[in-house]
Symmetry: C2
């Protein structure tokens, strides 16, 4: 598929960046000489937990919602999400003064449900699996004539997330750095797809990898098979933000063309990455947000002598879990 056939173009990402300028944080690209020495590489961390609502999700949500017309805004929006997309849609809806109803799994972290309510949204806790939850959200949206805001498989959402890649390229340029590798936490593939699209334009030498939790490496399996496959049921991971069962249709079309690969990482490496980010960069990552650094800690990719951009995608983690992880993982 050539870019002309892609439903998301670089121009869409540039336009999204302009729309986001007044509301989103241009999150810093952080580094630490200690981290660099530890890995024998130049490590640059894109700190998206510092984004509004604590994750990158606000980028896509805003780019989607800001273009709804007056009638659509009055009817409001419905979303289904394990948490970060939920908070982002709730906050954006509040900012744009439209009603929002969010369907969330009952097992989602308490902090994510509380925050979503805190942003003025109606939260509906749901007990079934993801397919049932999505079906319920669709029904609810139809009933209310509200707009359903999907978490990733939507060109405007992907273009919004792609602004992360555009910022990485610009910020690396200021530092005099040329990224060799870019590692991106991945669930449905909107963030990594948008980022890869932006970097293919702004930084074409960079190899972009998705990073997924073990047992939820549907993108790795799908890339290997050349077609979209779902995860086997029954797996568990603490990376609650990354548990989507299979790649999106639009995102897979982008990712199968642009990614260098996808790396599966065990939870313990994501936890250790959280402790490293705390210790060396003073930032709070949730497990799924830290997993791209986990891939490096696990030795799953050779970074020696390279310039490596790590996207740290979110920081919405309960204090009790964070305290446990700090206590269990001693970091140099």
């Amino acid at each position: 598929m050539s870019e002309s056939e892609t439903p998301v173009t670089y121009a869409d990402i540039a336009a999204a960046a302009e729309r986001l300028a007044p509301v989103a944080v241009v999150t810093p690209l952080l580094s630490s000489p200690t981290l660099d020495a530890l890995f024998g590489a130049r490590i640059l961390v894109k700190a998206e937990m510092l984004q509004r609502t604590g994750s990158f999700k606000v980028r896509g949500a805003y780019n989607r919602l800001v273009r709804l017309n007056t009638d659509e805004r009055r009817c409001g929006v419905v979303a289904f999400s394990s948490g970060n997309h939920a908070q982002a849609v709730a906050w954006v809806a509040q900012t744009l003064a439209m009603p929002a109803a969010i369907v969330m799994p009952r097992r989602a972290p308490t902090i994510k449900a509380e925050r979503t309510r805190g942003y003025g949204a109606e939260v509906i806790l749901f007990d079934g699996d993801r397919v049932a939850m999505e079906a319920y959200a669709r029904l609810l949206a139809a009933e209310r004539q509200a707009t359903l805001v999907p978490p990733f498989d939507d060109p405007r959402i992907i273009a919004g997330q792609g602004t992360v890649g555009r910022e990485i390229a610009a910020q690396a340029r200021v530092l005099g750095a040329t990224p060799d590798l870019v590692l991106v936490p991945t669930s449905g593939g909107g963030l990594v797809g948008g980022t890869a699209l932006a970097l293919a334009h702004d930084c074409p030498g960079a190899r972009v990898y998705a990073v997924e939790p073990e047992g939820f490496d549907d993108l790795a399996c799908s890339l290997a098979a050349g077609t979209r496959l779902a995860n086997a049921p029954g797996a568990h991971s603490i990376c609650d933000a990354l548990l989507v069962p299979s790649p999106g249709e639009i995102t897979f079309a982008i990712n199968s063309r642009l990614l260098a690969g996808s790396i599966a990482v065990a939870d313990r490496h994501a936890e250790r990455a959280m402790a490293v980010l705390f210790n060396h960069l003073k930032i709070v990552a949730e497990p799924g947000g830290a997993i791209a650094l986990g891939a490096v800690l696990a030795g799953a990719i050779n970074v020696n002598g390279k310039t490596v951009v790590i996207v740290a995608s979110g920081g919405n983690v309960d204090a009790a879990m964070f305290a446990r992880i700090l206590s269990e993982h001693t970091v140099v």
Copy 2:
């Protein structure tokens, strides 16, 4: 004292900002709608834990060391510090390829001594009080013909820290915000003094307050008395970065002219502020780094309806202490 009599001018701060541009992070000015709602104010947090070496101290240290000549660089530098200035001087010396010896109190947090060594400095752990430690550092510097880098009472150090104020003014302007109050963690007074000098020029309507730990409110007492006073001995605080016994001579001349006041805050409010910054902004603050937000949490200053800039000055805290504080302080 008029600005013409001050040993630090706005031009010195502007020049420092230019020198720092290639090495320092322009740390973000973060906000959260939840925090704003909690306090009925617009809260903007200047996240200096994201600065190189985890605190603002690198700004002053670099502005001081980069102007040493070839001979001075060969002889290297000596500093005495409880930790954040130590790390900053060590990192800057390493960056500029000069030797550094740092005298630190034996009770300093492990992480601070380890990091200082990690940046290639010789660390000398010292058992006496601060006066004895400073005398020892002076002797060591004289012996080695090295340059002594004081932690705050130096015009170039103050000008470097003042770049924090300059960035606050510029970043607030981008957000369309006009700061009413600016709260700054304070020990010897270099950060608050430099920040107040910059804001007197860039944002003259802002009232700048120092925030000190209870028992170490030497600046508050000195401001009240109109002359420099020392803390009574025997006090304790977990704010290890803020335990200087009395204001500096140069810094007090600036601060007595420019500050709206100084607020003393109990440790428990600094701890609660750490939990709030973790929860709402996803940043890691050390006790002394969080104390300015602690002043707001303690209700020590009326922020209702105001635009309030909180400087969060550092994040070098041991994991065990951070985990304990997260466990003990439940935050909304």
